[in-house]
């Protein structure tokens, strides 16, 4: 991972992690606070409903007591129930009384539980429902929810019971009265839209509430079930507070937080990118310059006017390069001295090799002139070839040595033309296939055409030799290198070189070819360096070698 990537990640983590933790914590605290507040509101409403139920129950009791007194004073009612008169008056009595008393439910039963008059359902007269007053009387505080029958539909009511006695025998009549617990009743209990009040009757008193979306509390109220097996069971008036506003608030906070994280993250990213660029750019430049440093190229400048660590590093690299440059110079001098010594010894040896046959011929001719002058001419003819061969050898040797130090010119050189001209002169390539891949529109190089020709002569000759008379391919290609100079590549599919052979390939007089002088690649290397170029070799035993010559462009 790059330094820049690490810096970006680190910056992101430093900014985003605390922000995320902060946001999540804010959300959690907010949810806890609001839920607690909702619970308080629900609990307060539950207390209000309890008080309201008590108050309404008291109101029902008062109204039933008033009705009880009115019935006791009503002679027509007394006559109807005790003597069977005015049946219609009796049947309509509860309805009129219920409306006057402001009740929603009123039922008058005799001592057997027979309904003698019903206000909410006039025509249920003569039906028997003795359980209702009995269960109401048994309910805590004397109040319970009942499901009252109606002609159109049953309805829920909060009811109480009262009674009176009429007649000489003291016949007991019970009054069941109540108020409807309908949507209006529940709506009056609900102060706002987020709070809701609902009645849960058995058997589903626990259903209909989801703690995940509501805050719930309940008031237990006794309930008289309808039907033949009527009994007193607990019902609940459930108060719930919707968490929809909390959910919406959390969603809003989440969106705002997300936007904040996004914006902050973006700013952090830009800041980190700018900062990392500022830090890594000089390091990258230093790295690129350092990559350019080579034993053949030690003129890389590490100048810097910075006073920080990067400036110190630049100065260190510049000093190191300077030391390398000095070391390389000393090394070259040593190499030159060594080469000169080797050359001197070789020249001495080679000249001796050329002079020994001549000396022998002259000894032979001297001996012939002294012993038999008449055979001198014949002896000369016999040994003339040897002398000529030796002279030719020496001339050849001199020519080769002369090639070691040419005086190259620095001029504009059409590399492709030189390559074509050189190739046209190559006559004997054996079974090798010679291929040209020349770049179109190649800019001229700044070098001596003669030097380039000698370089190409040597490299192509070496490539032909490496094929060892086998079939193969030699490819000469040109192109532009990274610095805008010219790159010439001579690749063969010959025998290639081992690592040891490669290490000595450019040494003077090192050769692996029978009859070779060992000066070809040495000359090539010197010629390339003298032309301010570079020479590289890529080789693999059994696969072939590629010699890459890079020469400066004309603008260099």
């Amino acid at each position: 991972m790059t330094f820049r990537a690490r810096l970006l990640l680190g910056f992101g983590a430093v900014v985003l992690v605390p922000l995320t933790v902060f946001g999540l914590r804010i959300r959690a605290v907010m949810a806890d606070r609001l839920t607690a507040e909702y619970q308080q509101r629900v609990s307060a409403l539950v207390r209000v409903i309890r008080a309201d139920l008590d108050q309404r129950s008291g109101g029902i009791a008062l109204r039933l007591a008033a009705l009880r007194d009115a019935i006791a004073q009503d002679n027509r009612f007394r006559s109807a129930v005790l003597q069977g008169g005015e049946r219609t008056y009796l049947l309509d009595y509860a309805g009129d009384a219920m409306r006057l008393a402001g009740l929603s439910l009123l039922q008058i039963q005799d001592e057997t539980g027979r309904i003698v008059s019903s206000g909410h359902f006039r025509n249920e007269y003569d039906q028997s429902d003795p359980a209702l007053p009995r269960l109401l009387a048994a309910a805590p505080a004397g109040t319970a929810l009942v499901e009252a029958r109606g002609a159109e539909a049953p309805f829920l009511a909060l009811a109480r019971v009262d009674s009176l006695r009429l007649g000489p025998g003291g016949r007991r009549f019970t009054l069941v009265g109540g108020i409807a617990v309908d949507s209006t009743f529940l709506a009056r209990l609900t102060p706002d839209s987020e709070l809701s009040v609902a009645v849960r009757l058995p058997p589903d008193t626990a259903s209909g509430t989801d703690p995940a979306t509501q805050v719930v509390n309940a008031v237990a109220v006794p309930f008289v079930t309808a039907g033949d097996s009527a009994r007193l069971v607990p019902a609940r008036i459930v108060v719930s507070h919707s968490l929809a506003s909390l959910v919406a608030l959390r969603r809003g906070v989440a969106v705002s937080f997300f936007v904040a994280v996004l914006v902050t993250g973006l700013i952090a990213l830009l800041l980190a990118s700018w900062l990392s660029t500022r830090i890594s750019r000089p390091l990258t430049a230093l790295a690129a310059k350092t990559a350019d440093v080579d034993m053949d190229r030690l003129d890389v400048a590490f100048d810097s006017d910075r006073s920080d660590e990067i400036g110190a590093l630049s100065h260190l690299l510049a000093a190191m390069t300077e030391r390398l440059r000095a070391g390389a110079a000393r090394l070259r001098e040593a190499e030159r001295r060594l080469a000169m010594g080797d050359l001197a010894r070789q020249v001495n040896h080679d000249i001796k090799n050329g002079l020994i046959p001549i000396r022998n011929v002259f000894r032979h001719l001297g001996q012939a002139a002294g012993e038999s002058p008449d055979r001198l001419a014949a002896a000369f003819r016999d040994r003339q070839a040897t002398v000529e061969s030796s002279i030719s050898y020496l001339e050849n040797l001199a020519s080769n040595y002369a090639r070691l130090y040419p005086q190259p010119a620095r001029e504009s050189c059409d590399v492709n033309a030189v390559v074509r001209e050189t190739i046209s002169r190559v006559s004997n390539t054996g079974q090798a296939e010679l291929r040209l891949e020349l770049a179109d529109g190649l800019a001229p190089a700044r070098t001596d055409a003669l030097v380039l020709r000698r370089i190409l002569d040597n490299l192509i000759g070496n490539a032909v030799d490496s094929l060892a008379a086998r079939a193969g391919r030699i490819t000469v290609s040109t192109g532009v290198n990274r610095e805008g100079g010219v790159r010439i590549t001579v690749a063969d599919t010959g025998t290639g070189m081992t690592k040891e052979e490669l290490n000595r390939a450019f040494d003077d007089f090192y050769t692996t070819k029978p009859g070779g002088t060992g000066l070809g690649l040495s000359i090539v290397r010197r010629l390339v360096l003298d032309a301010n170029g570079a020479l590289r070799v890529e080789t693999e035993p059994g696969t072939g070698s590629t010699f890459i010559v890079e020469l400066p462009g004309e603008g260099a």
Binding site: R87, T88, F121, N123, Y125, R149, A151, E152, G227
Partner: protein, 246 residues
Amino acid sequence: MTSGDPASPDVLVMQPMARTGQPVVKVAAMPASAARDALDGEAGVLMTDDPAALEYARTLSGYVDVPLEWNRTYVLLAPGRDKPVLGDLRLESLREAVHGDARPAEWSGPGRFWFTDLQACGIPAERDTLGTAGRRRRIVYNQSDRSTADLAARLVGLGALDRGAVAGGVPATAFESSLRAGSDAAYVVQVRRRVYDVCRAALELPPWISGATIEPLLDIRSHAVVRRGLPRMTLDWDGTLRLAPP
């Protein structure tokens, strides 16, 4: 003439021809609550079912309460005959359920109620395709007729159609379409007690009548409260009041 519709102040004025010496007769339809006002306004004849008005009329010496013919019968119609609608309910208490002058439905003539035997009219007995389960458990009545409401409520109170059934009042127009569709369990319907042409009258009944359960419930009659000293009046066979010529 009183009606159950408070929004019916229609007045029909019958003007005699010139120089005949006949009185002007006004026929007005008014709500039941205005019946006593009509008596205090010295109306000649008041035809009403309202028990309060009748009770008031009996206290006035200038008026005579004349019960008219039992001319209407309330019946319970239930599509299909596969299930008893009323069972063994005690229907004698129905009379107290309504506020008008009523009696248990009875047929004083030969045979049965005209609407229980419509075979001769060629009305085919339709197959009940809806079935009991497909109908709402309601006893439906016309909201504009208080007696049908009282009867439906009483039937519910008695436990008709099993416990849990309810009464359902619908406006007059909706009642007609509901009755024709037969989509509810039962209907409380007012029919004429006597008809001249049975088959013609049968056209007013729902199309599924031949395959229905029909339970006559109550006979209802109106009263004529007549101011003393008026010309003689007669009743037609179907209960229609007629002013006799002097």
